[in-house]
Symmetry: C2
Subunit: 163 residues, 2 copies
DNA sequence: GCAACCTTGTAAGGTGCCTTGACTAGAAGG
DNA sequence: CCTTCTAGTCAAGGCACCTTACAAGGTTGC
């Protein structure tokens, strides 16, 4: 029960720092998004906009990438359908499945959101140093691809096989 | 309504990357914590352990630092009291207030948690480069101190006044 | 073709965490 | 004393997510 063998002074734990920084960044994004024509998009909806591309994606695949259950994603998709951002299209290859696709408005929102993220990142690059922010992105992408490839299949240039 | 003037290809938005990495890191922490003698500590309890120091902290102050309401913190503190990690001590300077203090067990848990975070961070330093991880920490601390000083008063070496 | 089994998506109910609103006890200032 | 402000609690509600259970459609072997 002694207070640890060494208790190395690591400062504030890294996950806490990451959360605080992510929260600040995301708040900047949200405050601009809410004043746009896409103000009815809530933070939860991000898991769909993040992963759905032009050719559509099945519910199960969204759930896997978002690390959530199919039911939760289904609920969120319902909401987005009601708001006119996505639609369910029958999968031509599997009559059970439906492809979640962005509507025209949905594509507009996704594009706007991405440009907004880029804008905020650029602002931070000017604030904290472009090379530092790009270095941060580089490191984070490498870590994300290694630690959670299912969550960011856009990255993950590594093939699983080849012993 | 055109899809953005430039739509610069920024890759995956930074907040998403930060969340994925933070999640992976935190999962590593949790899986070790759950197997320890402090397995009944849940993720939500972190907001208390993060901020309470030896001399105690009032509920209102915890809420401000955690960016949460007094009610939520109160509920979490209730739970931690029931589990024997903290106790409420009357504030000698204000009979309305109570100082939330760690019990002996609470201090043990906090110390163990901190050492666990340090351990995981060290592991990642070996995995991704010690200089890169320490550079990451440095940048995050700078950003956190600038963007959300209320959340990390341990940092924030800047005085607010002095025009 | 059909029987056993897997997968896709949905429905219903529950839990955890957090919020808004209303209140008591004590502090601060006239 | 009387007003006003602050510290903390109580109660009700909501949102996000999960677990359990199930119908419809594919898949494989015979």
């Amino acid at each position: 029960m002694s207070p640890g063998s060494k208790t190395p002074p690591a400062g504030i734990p890294l996950p806490g720092l990451l959360d605080v920084v992510s929260g600040a960044l995301f708040a900047e994004f949200r405050s601009e998004l809410e004043q746009s024509q896409f103000g009815d998009i809530r933070p939860t909806h991000g898991c769909v906009f993040r992963h759905v591309r032009g050719d559509g994606l099945r519910l199960t695949d969204i759930a896997e990438r978002a690390n959530m259950t199919k039911q939760s994603i289904g609920e969120i998709v319902d909401d987005l359908v009601a708001k006119g951002y996505v639609q369910r299209i029958p999968d031509p290859n599997d009559r059970r499945a439906k492809l979640v696709c962005l509507t025209e408005r949905g594509e507009g929102a996704q594009g706007y959101g991405l440009s907004l993220f880029a804008k905020v990142e650029k602002r931070w690059a000017e604030r904290y140093g472009a090379d530092r922010i790009s270095g941060l992105r580089e490191l984070l992408e490498e870590i994300a691809a290694a630690e959670a490839p299912f969550a960011v299949p856009e990255l993950a240039p590594r093939e699983p096989a080849a012993a």
